[in-house]
């Protein structure tokens, strides 16, 4: 129950951060991605701000080996830089460049009531469902 409450608060705070930084605005994100036009470097400041806090948080929990509530950490353990990582990131980049929307802002836009956000989220969920199906088939072939 406590984990759910923490996740809810974290989601709210994350969403507020996306609104304050204006990163839920696709035009703002495209302003960063369009380096050949009038370039808006704001996104770099968002990343730097977030990482400057996150860096210390990760360092702290890694040293402790558990959370402040003494519960386990679920950190990714893969170290492989493989075709899946590269191909997947390339695909994601293309999708992000088309509309200027990535998963977090998509959910905030949908929550704000924008039809465009809702359409994007439904399509994104469909893409994720297709991935799961392809993964199941891959597992069966083995």
């Amino acid at each position: 129950m406590i984990t759910q409450l923490i996740a809810l608060i974290s989601g709210i705070v994350f969403g507020i951060g996306l609104i304050v930084s204006d990163m839920f605005n696709p035009a703002k994100v495209l302003g960063f991605l369009d380096i050949a036009g009038q370039w808006d470097p704001s996104l770099i400041f968002v990343m730097a701000g977030a990482i400057s806090v996150g860096f210390f948080a990760f360092r702290m929990v890694k040293q402790r080996g558990k959370t402040l509530l003494a519960t386990p950490l679920y950190l990714p353990d893969s170290k492989m830089i493989d075709v899946r990582l590269i191909f997947g990131s390339m695909l994601f980049g293309v999708g992000w460049g088309i509309a200027g929307i990535c998963p977090g802002p998509a959910l905030v836009l949908a929550g704000s009531g924008y039809v465009e956000g809702i359409i994007f989220v439904i399509a994104m969920l469909t893409g994720m469902a297709i991935f799961e199906q392809l993964e199941k088939r891959r597992a069966m072939r083995r």
């Binding site: 709210i12 951060g17 950490l73 469909t126």
Partner: protein, 144 residues
């Protein structure tokens, strides 16, 4: 040559919003032990057998509620979305598949991964930002 759009550039709001995002990832990490990677959190909802739906649903609910809570204290800033519905569907499908194959998006790789200096995330972030810039270039300066 890069031409900076000084009229749109908002470094203070950007950095402040970034700190707030950093705070959110810190909360989830130090108290729940989870990475605030949004595509991973949402993608995990398709794996019912994992039995950890609760916190995922709660986090997504938080993101959806954020604009409503924001509206209580201030006017939600306006957004501009120029992509057609067809392009939004295409982009959404590609983002959904790509983030799952690549095990992360702007939050999981870009914020959390870079915060913990993960080589995988550094590679992923460079690739998706480069591809996104290339795609935007083609759409804005080649096709149209």
């Amino acid at each position: 040559m890069l031409v900076i759009d000084w009229s749109s550039f908002t470094p203070l709001n950007a950095a402040l919003g970034g700190l707030v995002i950093g705070l959110a990832t810190t909360l989830l990490l130090i108290l729940a032990g989870r990475i605030a990677g949004i595509s991973g959190i949402v993608g995990g909802l398709f794996r019912l057998s994992q039995g950890d739906m609760g916190w995922r649903i709660a986090f997504v609910a938080g993101l959806l509620l954020a604009p409503w809570l924001y509206r209580w204290v201030a006017v939600l800033p306006p957004v501009e979305i120029h992509a057609s519905y067809g392009l939004l569907v295409l982009a959404g499908l590609i983002v959904g598949m790509g983030t799952r194959y690549g095990s992360g998006c702007t939050s999981g790789h870009g914020v959390c991964g870079l915060s913990r200096l993960s080589p995988r995330s550094i590679v992923a972030t460079i690739i998706f930002i480069t591809m996104a810039m290339a795609t935007t270039y083609v759409i804005r300066h080649v096709i149209s």
